[in-house]
C-alpha cells in the first residue's frame, strides 16, 4: 500500500498558497518521511517560483469557475477581502496518487511525528474534532459544534483516508453537499452562506454515521492546535514556533506564546508568508 501526503494550493491575488504549501511540504517530509504531492491550479507558477520544490507529483486542476470571497485577517487590525478557492477538497479521493493519504491544508505546519502512525491504523478515515486555541481565554465553541444546537464539528484541515468504496461514497457525498450547499446549510442551521469544507465534512460524517454519533470518523492522534488569522506567527525554528496571540479584551494587543513540537494550523497566511520570505512573520 502506498502512503503519502497531499496538499492543496490555489493562489489568489495576494496569497501565494503555492509558496506556503512548499514550506508546509518540507516540514511534513522532515517529520513524517513520506512523499508529498500537491494539487494546484497553478502548476506553472510552482515550477517557476519553486524550482527546488520537494513534491513527488504535481497534480494540476482547472481554475474554478466560481470563487467565494471572504475577509482574510492579518492580525486583529488589518484585513482584506480576497478570493477563497476551497471547492476542490472533495477531489482528494480521485486525485490522490496514494492508497493511504494524509491531506493537509497548506497552512498546517507539521513539527512532530505524531501523525506518522495514522498511516498504520486499520481504519478508513481519521480526522480531528478536538482542538486547542493557543490563546487560552478564547471560546472555541464554534469549533465544537457547527452551531450550538447542531452536530459535532470536524476539521477538514487534516485528515487521513484509505482508497476504498466506502471512502469513495464519502467523498461523493461531500460533492453532493457542495452542489446543494444552500439546502444543507439551511437544514443544519448554519449561519453563514459561504461554503466551508469543515462544515461539509461534519455534515457528511453525520450522514455516514446514520445521523447519530457513530464511529465512521476516528480521531487523529493529538489535537488540532491552531492560531486564528487575528493572531501572528513570529518565527518557526527547529520545531519551535513563536506567536503573538490576541490579548483578551484589547483589540490589536498581543501576548507571546511558544510551542515546541506541536503541529500548528497557522490561519494567518500573510504572517506565514512573511515568515517564509524573511524569517519573521511580524
Amino acid at each position: 500500500m502506498t502512503k503519502g501526503i497531499v496538499l492543496f494550493a490555489q493562489n489568489n491575488s495576494e496569497i501565494d498558497y503555492v509558496k506556503i504549501a512548499t514550506y508546509a511540504a518540507r516540514q511534513a517530509q522532515k517529520y513524517l518521511q513520506v512523499p508529498v504531492s500537491i494539487i494546484t491550479d497553478s502548476p506553472d507558477w510552482l515550477r517557476t517560483s519553486q524550482p527546488d520544490h520537494p513534491f513527488d507529483k504535481i497534480i494540476g486542476i482547472h481554475q474554478p469557475n466560481e470563487v467565494q470571497r471572504k475577509q482574510f485577517f492579518d492580525g486583529k487590525l488589518s484585513s482584506t477581502r480576497l478570493d477563497w478557492k476551497n471547492f476542490a477538497r472533495n477531489q482528494a479521493y480521485e486525485l490522490s496518487p496514494y492508497d493511504i493519504t494524509l491531506v493537509i491544508d497548506s497552512d498546517f505546519i507539521i513539527n512532530s511525528d505524531v501523525l506518522k502512525t495514522a498511516f498504520d491504523k486499520d481504519v478508513d478515515f481519521q480526522i480531528y474534532s478536538q482542538s486547542i486555541d493557543l490563546a487560552g481565554w478564547r471560546s472555541n465553541q464554534e469549533f465544537e459544534r457547527i452551531n450550538p444546537q447542531s452536530i459535532d464539528f470536524y476539521w477538514a484541515t487534516v485528515f487521513v483516508f484509505k482508497k476504498n468504496p466506502l471512502m469513495e461514497s464519502f467523498f461523493n457525498l461531500i460533492a453532493y453537499i457542495k452542489t446543494n450547499w444552500n439546502y444543507f446549510r439551511k437544514l443544519y442551521n448554519i449561519e453563514g452562506v459561504l461554503f466551508r469544507n469543515d462544515y461539509a465534512f461534519s455534515i457528511a460524517i453525520h450522514i455516514m454515521d446514520g445521523k447519530i454519533r457513530g464511529n465512521f470518523a476516528i480521531e487523529l492522534p493529538g489535537k488540532m492546535t491552531y492560531i486564528r488569522d487575528t493572531d501572528i506567527l513570529v518565527e518557526a525554528v527547529d520545531g519551535t514556533m513563536k506567536f503573538l496571540v490576541g490579548k483578551k479584551d484589547f483589540a490589536g494587543e498581543y501576548i507571546l506564546a511558544k510551542t515546541t513540537n506541536l503541529d500548528v494550523h497557522v490561519m494567518n497566511k500573510f504572517s506565514l508568508s512573511r515568515f517564509i520570505d524573511g524569517g519573521c512573520g511580524v
Partner: protein, 114 residues
C-alpha cells in the same frame, strides 16, 4: 501614564503570558504521552501502567482498548510495560523541566526565550 499603573499592566501581561504558556506546555506533555503499537493509540496514564503491570505476568493475552475504543492484542506485555514506563518518565521529566524553567522566569522575554 503613572509609573505604578504601567508596572501593574506589565505584571498583568506577564501573568497572562505565564498562564497561557503553562497551558501550552501541558498540551505538549499530553501529546508526548501518546503511544502507538500495532495501529493502536494509547494515552499513557498511571492507570494504564498500573493495569499492565498487574496483568503482564498472567498467562492470558493482554487485550487493551485504545483511545479510539478499538481493541488490540498486545504481543509482548512486558516489553509494552517497559516502553510505556520509559515514555511516561521521559515526557514527565521534560514537562517538569519546562514547567520549572518558565516558573522561575520573571520576564516575558525569558518565558518565551526571545
Amino acid at each position: 501614564m503613572d509609573e505604578k499603573i504601567e508596572k501593574a499592566f506589565a505584571v498583568a501581561n506577564y501573568m497572562a503570558t505565564l498562564a497561557n504558556q503553562k497551558r501550552i506546555i501541558l498540551e505538549e506533555y499530553n501529546q508526548a504521552l501518546i503511544y502507538y503499537i500495532d495501529g493502536a493509540t494509547f494515552k499513557i496514564t498511571p492507570e494504564l501502567i498500573g493495569f499492565v503491570k498487574a496483568t503482564c505476568d498472567s498467562p492470558f493475552d493482554l487485550i487493551l482498548i485504545d483511545s479510539n475504543n478499538l481493541p488490540v492484542k498486545i504481543p509482548n506485555a512486558k516489553k509494552f510495560l517497559n516502553d510505556i514506563i520509559l515514555a511516561y518518565r521521559d515526557a514527565s521529566e521534560k514537562y517538569f523541566k519546562k514547567y520549572s524553567d518558565i516558573k522561575s522566569k520573571r520576564k516575558i522575554a525569558d518565558i518565551i526565550e526571545l
